[in-house]
C-alpha cells in the first residue's frame, strides 16, 4: 500500500514541517510513502494532506486536496487565515465569500463583503476563532487525522461525518542535552514567537509579581517578536527594561533550543485565542521533564493536571500565573511534575505508537470501503436468501456497526 504525503518540509520553518520530518522515517518503516511536491502527484492508494493555517506553506496542499480528495491531518481547526490567503490572497474574493457563506449563511456572506470592501477589519486577524472556515477543508476530506479531542469535537460540530482518527502529536526522543549556561531561582522559560496570542503581556506582568517575591527569578524569552509587538516598551512599563532578570534570545537553532529548555525550571506556554493547535514547544518541554504552565484552553486543557498547571484566561490570569510560578519555585513540586511529564510523554506521545496509529488510519482509509462493501455484500446476500424481515435486518445492521465492521 502506498501513501502520497503532502506536507511542508524543512527547510520550511513551520512546526508542521518539523512534525513531518520527525514522523516520516517512522511512518516509512510501516507503509510505503512518497512525499509530494507542488504540481507533482505521486500515484498512491491513499493521499495524506497536512493542513495548517499558513497559506504560504499549505496553499498548494489545499489545491492538491481539491483535485484529489484524501485524508486530511487537521493540525488546527481555525483556518480563516489559510482560506483568506488562498482566496483573497489570489484575487478570488468570490471564493472567500463562498467559504463565509458556507459557514454562516447570508450573514457570513455579508461579513465577507464587508471585509472585501474594507468596511470591516480583517477577520482572520481580529476574530478568526469566531469564523474558523474549516468547512471548506472538511468538505474535501475523506477522513481526518487530529491531534486532540478539541479539534475532533470542532470537526463534528461543523458537521463532519467521515472517519476521524485521533493521533497524538509525537514527542521528540529525550535528547541528552547539556543545559545552557543560564540560571535563575527559578528560571522561567517561554519559547516561540512573542505576540499577543501567546499572552506575553500577561506573562510579563506575572513575572514582575513573581520577582517581587523572589528576587532571584529570571525570565528567558526565546523567539522572534511579532511585527506589531513592542516588547521593549512593555518591559519598560513594568520596570523591567534593561533588567538582567530578562534574558532574551531571538530565533535559535534546534540544538540551542533544547539546551535552553533544559536550563529552565519551568516553562510557560500561554495561548488565547487558540486555533485548536497542538504545541510542539510544550511537547519538547515535557519530553525533557520540565513542568509546564499553560492556558486552560483547547488542546492545552487536555494535558493531564499532573504535568501542566492550567491558567484560566480571565481577569485574574496574571495573578494566577504568578501563583503557579511561585508554586513551581519549590523543587519538590517541580520534581513530581517532572516525573509525571516524562511518564506521560512516553505513554501518550511515543513516536512509534503514533506512527502505528497513522499506519492503521491510512490502511483503513485506503481499503476500508472495499472491505465494508465485501462484508456487507455477503451479509446482504445471506439476508436476502433467508428473507430476513426488517426488524432482524435492523438488528444485524446494529451488530455490524457496533463491531466496527
Amino acid at each position: 500500500m502506498k501513501v502520497a504525503y503532502y506536507s511542508p518540509m524543512p527547510p520550511n520553518r513551520s512546526g508542521i514541517a518539523d512534525y513531518s520530518a520527525h514522523l516520516l522515517p517512522a511512518l516509512r518503516r510501516r507503509v510505503e510513502v512518497e512525499v509530494a511536491r507542488p504540481g507533482r502527484h505521486p500515484r498512491a492508494d491513499v493521499r495524506l494532506y497536512h493542513v495548517g493555517n499558513d497559506p504560504d506553506a499549505h496553499g498548494w496542499i489545499v489545491d492538491a486536496l481539491a483535485e484529489r480528495p484524501g485524508v486530511v491531518v487537521l493540525h488546527e481547526h481555525v483556518l480563516h487565515h489559510l482560506i483568506a490567503g488562498i482566496t483573497i490572497g489570489r484575487g478570488r474574493g468570490k471564493a472567500y465569500l463562498a467559504a463565509m457563506e458556507r459557514e454562516l449563511g447570508v450573514v457570513g456572506r455579508l461579513l465577507g463583503l464587508g471585509v472585501l470592501d474594507n468596511l470591516l477589519p480583517l477577520l482572520w486577524e481580529t476574530r478568526p476563532q469566531d469564523y474558523p472556515l474549516v468547512g471548506t477543508i472538511l468538505d474535501l476530506a475523506t477522513g481526518l487525522v487530529v491531534h486532540s479531542r478539541t479539534v475532533e469535537e470542532a470537526a463534528r460540530r461543523h458537521g463532519y461525518g467521515g472517519p476521524i482518527w485521533r493521533i497524538p502529536h509525537p514527542a521528540w526522543p529525550h535528547p541528552a542535552v547539556e543545559p545552557a549556561d543560564v540560571h535563575g531561582e527559578p528560571l522561567v522559560g517561554c519559547f516561540g514567537n512573542l505576540n499577543m496570542n501567546k499572552r506575553i503581556p500577561e506573562l510579563l506582568e506575572a513575572f514582575a509579581r513573581l520577582r517581587a517575591a523572589r528576587p532571584g527569578a529570571r525570565l528567558l524569552l526565546v523567539g522572534a517578536s511579532a511585527e506589531r509587538f513592542d516588547l521593549d516598551r512593555r518591559l519598560e512599563r513594568l520596570g523591567l527594561a534593561g533588567d538582567p532578570a530578562i534574558v532574551r534570545e531571538e530565533y535559535v537553532p534546534e540544538e540551542r533550543l533544547w539546551s535552553l529548555i533544559a536550563a529552565c525550571d519551568v516553562c510557560v506556554n500561554l495561548r488565547f485565542p487558540t486555533m485548536g493547535e497542538t504545541s510542539g514547544s510544550v511537547l519538547r518541554v515535557l519530553s525533557l521533564g520540565r513542568p509546564a504552565v499553560v492556558s486552560d484552553v483547547g488542546w492545552f486543557s487536555e494535558l493531564p493536571d499532573e504535568v501542566a498547571l492550567k491558567v484560566p484566561v480571565d481577569e485574574f490570569e496574571a495573578r494566577t500565573l504568578a501563583a503557579a510560578l511561585d508554586l513551581l519555585s519549590l523543587p519538590a513540586a517541580r520534581e513530581a511534575m517532572s516525573r509525571a511529564a516524562l511518564a506521560y510523554v512516553r505513554r501518550e506521545h511515543d513516536l512509534d505508537r503514533c506512527a502505528d496509529r497513522y499506519a492503521a488510519a491510512l490502511e483503513q482509509a485506503a481499503g476500508g470501503e472495499a472491505v465494508a462493501d465485501a462484508v456487507l455484500g455477503e451479509v446482504a446476500r445471506a439476508a436476502a436468501d433467508v428473507g430476513l424481515p426488517d426488524a432482524e435486518l435492523t438488528l444485524v445492521a446494529g451488530r455490524i456497526r457496533e463491531s466496527g465492521l
Partner: protein
C-alpha cells in the same frame, strides 16, 4: 451457575484449543455447574471472509437459553469473543495471529493490497471492541498478555490452564526425543528432523498430523533418517501417554507460541522439554537447566542439547517440571473465571 464456553471450530481439526474448551466444560460440570460448549465453524479466507465469519458470533443471541439465564459466557479464541453478552469474560488462547505477529511473514495471509491491509485493520478494530466489552480478559500466558497489550491496548490477567486430563506416568527414559504437535510449519518440527541429521545418536518420534507432514517425511528421507525419525500420525490418548512415559525428552519449539500444553504434559510425565529461545510462551515454564534445555533455534544446537541429556539429568529436570505443572489447577482457574459472573 449456568455457564457457556464459546469456542470456534475448524471442521476436522482438533488441537490444544479444542481440548482446552472441552475440558473446561467438563471441569465446570464436575463442580456442579450447568455448562455447555457453544461453537461455530470458522473459516478465515479468502479476502474478507474472516470478518463475515466473525460477525456470525456477533449475531448469536445468548441473552438467555429457552428461558434460562446465562450467568457467564467464557469466550476463548478469535472470533468467539465477538459474542455479545453482558457477563462475558475472554480467556484468550490467541488472537487471529495472521493479523498480528504472523503478518508480513510467510505465515501471514494478508498481502500489501489496500483491501488486505484494511481487512487486517478491521480484525484489529473488532478485537478492540469485543475484548473491550469483557468484564475481564484473561490470557493463557504472559506472551499472549503482552501481545494483547501491544496490539490492541487490552490489559489481560495471566491465567494458564492445566493440560488435558490423562493418566500421565513415568516408565523410563528411552533414547528417543518426542515431538507432540499438529504438524504445520509454525511448529518447526523440521528443526528436530535436521537435528537428527546432525547427531547420529538422536532418535525421534513425531506424534501428530497436519499439512506439513508430507514435506517433513520427505525431508527425513532426503537426509537418510528413515530409521531414526518415526512419524506416528495422530495417536490416541493411551499411545500418547505411553510415548510420554518412555521418551527421554520432549521437543517443543513453535515460533513465538502462545502457551502450549505440551510442556505441561511432558512435565506431568516427568520429562524435560527441549525448546528454543524464540519459542514464546513455553519459555515461561521451561527454565534452562532447571526443567529442560533452551537453545538457539538451530539444528546443531538442538542436537547438542539432546545429546547432553543423560538419564539422571533428564529425570532431574523432569521432576522439577512436574512440581511446576502440578501447581496449575482447574480449581484455581475456575475460581478466577467465575468471579466475574
Amino acid at each position: 451457575m449456568n455457564v457457556v464456553v464459546a469456542a470456534p471450530q475448524v471442521p476436522f481439526a482438533r488441537g490444544g484449543a479444542e481440548i482446552m474448551a472441552e475440558t473446561l466444560v467438563d471441569e465446570l460440570r464436575a463442580r456442579g455447574h450447568e455448562a455447555d460448549l457453544v461453537t461455530l465453524p470458522f473459516k478465515w479466507y479468502p479476502g474478507t471472509r474472516v470478518l463475515s465469519q466473525a460477525l456470525l458470533w456477533r449475531l448469536v443471541d445468548l441473552d438467555e437459553a429457552d428461558g434460562r439465564r446465562i450467568d457467564l459466557v467464557i469466550a476463548t479464541k478469535f472470533p468467539s469473543y465477538a459474542i455479545r453478552h453482558p457477563r462475558k469474560v475472554a480467556w484468550v488462547l490467541h488472537q487471529f495471529r495472521q493479523a498480528y505477529e504472523y503478518d508480513r511473514t510467510e505465515l501471514g495471509q494478508f498481502s500489501e493490497s489496500a483491501e488486505d491491509r484494511a481487512t487486517r485493520r478491521a480484525v484489529e478494530r473488532l478485537d478492540r471492541v469485543a475484548l473491550g466489552e469483557c468484564r475481564r480478559v484473561f490470557a493463557t500466558s504472559h506472551n499472549v498478555a503482552d501481545r494483547l497489550r501491544r496490539s490492541v491496548d487490552v490489559e489481560a490477567e495471566v491465567l494458564p490452564h492445566p493440560p488435558q486430563r490423562l493418566a500421565y506416568r513415568t516408565d523410563s527414559y528411552d533414547d528417543f526425543v518426542l515431538s507432540v504437535n499438529r504438524i504445520d510449519r509454525a511448529k518447526r518440527i523440521d528443526l528436530l528432523v535436521e537435528a537428527a541429521a546432525a547427531e547420529p545418536a538422536l532418535r525421534v518420534v513425531v506424534a501428530g498430523d497436519g499439512p506439513d507432514r508430507a514435506r517433513l517425511e520427505q525431508l527425513a528421507r532426503d537426509r537418510g533418517l528413515n530409521g531414526r525419525v518415526e512419524f506416528r500420525g495422530r495417536v490416541g490418548d493411551d499411545e500418547l501417554v505411553d510415548l510420554y512415559a518412555r521418551c527421554r525428552a520432549v521437543f517443543y519449539a513453535p515460533i513465538d507460541e502462545d502457551f502450549g500444553m505440551v510442556p505441561y504434559e511432558a512435565f506431568l510425565a516427568g520429562k524435560p522439554v527441549l525448546t528454543t529461545t524464540d519459542a514464546g510462551g513455553p519459555l515461561e515454564i521451561v527454565a534452562d537447566r532447571e526443567t529442560g534445555l533452551v537453545t538457539a533455534p538451530e539444528p546443531a544446537a538442538i542436537a547438542r542439547a539432546a545429546a547432553s541429556l543423560d538419564e539422571p539429568t533428564a529425570r532431574a529436570y523432569g521432576d522439577a517440571g512436574r512440581s511446576r505443572a502440578e501447581r496449575v489447577t482447574w480449581d484455581a482457574c475456575i475460581e478466577r473465571l467465575l468471579a466475574f459472573a
